[in-house]
Amino acid sequence: MVSTRVDPLEASDGKHPVSLLELRGIDKHFGPVQALTDVALEVPAGQVTALAGDNGAGKSVLIKCIGGIHVAEAGQILWEGHPIHIRSPRDSAALGIETVYQDLALCDNLDIVQNMFLGRERTRSVLLDEESMELAARDTLASLSVTTVRSIRQPVASLSGGQRQAVAIAKSVLWNSRLVIMDEPTAALGVSQTEMVLELVRRLADRGVAVLIISHNMNDVFQVADRLAILHLGRMVAAGPASTFDRQIVVDYMTTGQSTRHSQAIFPSAEGQS
């Protein structure tokens, strides 16, 4: 992989210190449809946690509950061990949670700098301070080794899919986000661009950021993830270090919600239900 993996969890006697984000018993339904049932999840800092699951398993609902777009009906959200409430995107942004949605939420007509600072522009009295924003954006992109863009003043419309992902990731670095959630970051990308984005994800985690990544792609999952969590029909059926899984096990869990091959007992709450 790109660089050494920082693993604060294993550093401390194998016993978990407090995870950056911990969900307990999250329930969410839309009318008669139960989207999430008693979901538990831990997202430690400095690691990439992959959230896997078949279509309709509830992955998107779960990250929207963390991002404040949906509000969970039951359950607890712990941030550094303290119970908190996330009721709006503003709440989650205030905690330092940045969500990179599948549609990337970039404005095509604005340039890279303008997009990275959208909603948080720096000003000098009432006028925009373009220079300091441009310098900060440039430094951030350079620190992530994103050098493929021709000019940071080019409109986002002229960027490739991978470059757009890079801008979205750089945005979260610029804002010192502590948890970055990514929804299928490589879904629309070619091979080399996927590689670039996964390297960026790795670098992000190496900076101490907690990364939660949704992916269907087993190659991506095993290339980049430190931990895995698998949803099946709205329940968390397995979670643990990526090294305890292999492809077949993950596919078993995704499709049937259980795996006969998987020996490790992972998640007390998930076990209790199944």
Binding site: V6, P8, A45, G46, P89, R90, A93, Y101, D103, L104, A105, L106, C107, D108, N109, L110, D111, Q114, L118, G119, R120, E121, T123, V126, L127, L128, E130, E131, E134, L135, R138, D139, T140, A142, S143, T147, R150, S151, I152, R153, Q154, P155, A157, S158, L159, S160, G161, V173, N176, R178, A188, D206, R207, G208, V209
Partner: protein
């Protein structure tokens, strides 16, 4: 946790632009930001034109083309008297088009602008009359513009809070505005304006010497600001236009200003000498500068463009969409009020002849012809000015030729259709040039 908030490493000073890939011609990017020298700028400009990103150049070419055509048809077209007349006539279109830019940038439209402006004109005219206490001219203007802004805020609130389409809400505004005008003025009524200052807004002239002084001040200010800004950006190693381009911009502003003053200072009177720059030109320039600054250099302006580009992304960025939209509609109506006062000033009266429906359609046409996009997110106040000049030139030139109103409408319609087609083709050109 020790690694959180690691400070970003200092950037290696790599050249930000890969000119090799630029030369390959995949350029939907403004040439100002990828060129280091003037020659590269010119090449990048052509690449960009081919890619469908045109800027203001096509409008200027179109304006020159129209001038040549009308001049060859009628040698009076390019006389000083007619050109100044054209500027004054065009001021109302230009002002309304600048108003419309606020709505178009959001991807919305304001059909009521013409009659809202008319109401602004009526309020000013009424307050100046003795039965309403003969307000001072500035007091009347403040009252009229405030009312217009309130109307805009009301329409904006209805559009954003009730989530109704702006087309329908402002269509209702158009009808109500027309009704209110008829109500105040009476059927076929006319309200004359006897205030010298108000009438001078459109009809007054600077003395020739004052014209030069003002022109020198405006161009000097523009030049100094442009030069120092570009120089500072180059010093701090930011993306900046090449020196040659900065100089060219300043020289072009100087030449344009001088030509304008020279034309306006020609004695165009028949019996008594008439010469000088019309006040209205300064009003247009002041509003242009104000809105360019607001849209280009403030948070509000940035959010207006962002909403036009991707409203959902802007909402997720924590921007209060409803507030920005409402203020936009307010500024649209406010600017329309300025247009209405200029309209009243030019005729020295307000009458029920004011056709706010046609005016507003002309102003939307002007903004789009100038280069603003109907789809939102693209367009600047300068586009409104250029588009307004095109509309005024067509109107004026065909009038000189003695064409009927019918022919004028048809030609204006064709020009609008051409402009929208170019806009749409340019959009698909941009999409085609966007890598997957």
């Amino acid at each position: 946790m020790a690694q959180v908030q690691e400070p970003p490493k200092p950037a290696p000073t790599e050249p930000p632009d890969d000119l090799a890939s630029l030369a390959a011609g995949r350029a939907a990017v403004s040439p100002e930001i990828v060129a280091d020298t003037f020659g590269e700028y010119v090449r990048a400009s052509f690449a960009r034109l081919r890619a469908g990103e045109s800027g203001v150049l096509p409008v200027i070419v179109g304006l020159l083309l129209i001038s040549v055509i009308f001049q060859s048809l009628n040698s009076k077209f390019l006389t000083a008297g007619n050109l100044v007349n054209l500027l004054v006539q065009g001021a109302v279109f230009i002002m309304l088009a600048m108003a419309e830019v606020f709505a178009l940038l959001l991807g919305e439209i304001d059909l009521s602008a013409g009659y809202v402006g008319g109401i602004g004109g009526i309020v000013v005219a009424e307050l100046l009359t003795s039965q309403h206490g003969s307000w001072p001219w500035w007091g009347a203007c403040i009252a009229g513009l405030t009312l217009c802004a309130l109307i805009g805020a009301l329409q904006g609130t209805i559009i954003t809070r009730l989530k109704l389409p702006s087309f329908v809400v402002t269509l209702a505004g158009l009808l109500i505005g027309q009704g209110v005008m008829l109500l105040i003025l009476g059927n076929g009524g006319t309200l004359p304006i006897n205030n010298g200052v108000i009438n001078d807004l459109a009809n007054g002239l600077l003395t020739p010497a004052a014209g030069w002084v003002v022109m020198a001040a405006v161009v000097g200010l523009f030049g100094a600001l442009t030069w120092f800004r570009d120089a500072r950006r180059r010093r701090s190693g930011l993306v900046a236009p090449p020196v040659g381009l900065t100089v060219l911009k300043i020289v072009a502003a100087g030449v344009a200003g001088s030509v304008l003053v020279i034309i306006c200072n020609v004695d165009r009177g028949v019996l008594v000498p008439i010469q000088g720059v019309p006040w209205v030109v300064l009003i247009v320039l002041a509003v242009l500068a104000m809105w360019t600054l607001l849209l280009g250099r403030t948070k509000f302006g940035r959010y207006v463009y962002a909403i036009g580009g991707n409203a959902e992304a802007t909402r997720r960025a924590g921007v209060n969409l409803a507030a920005i939209r409402t203020v936009s509609f307010m500024l649209c109506s406010f600017t329309a009020g300025i247009a209405g006062i200029i309209y009243a000033s030019r005729l020295r009266s307000v009458s029920t002849n004011l056709d706010g429906g046609t005016l507003v359609l002309y102003s939307v046409a002007a903004a789009v012809i100038g280069g603003a996009s109907l789809f939102g997110g693209r367009g600047r106040p300068i586009h409104a000015v250029l588009g307004g000049l095109v509309i005024a030139a067509i109107d004026n030139g065909m009038g000189l030729q003695g064409f009927s109103a019918a022919a004028k409408y048809v030609v204006t319609g064709i020009v609008l259709l051409a402009a929208v087609t170019i806009d749409s083709v340019a959009r698909s050109g941009r999409r085609a040039n966007t890598p997957p």
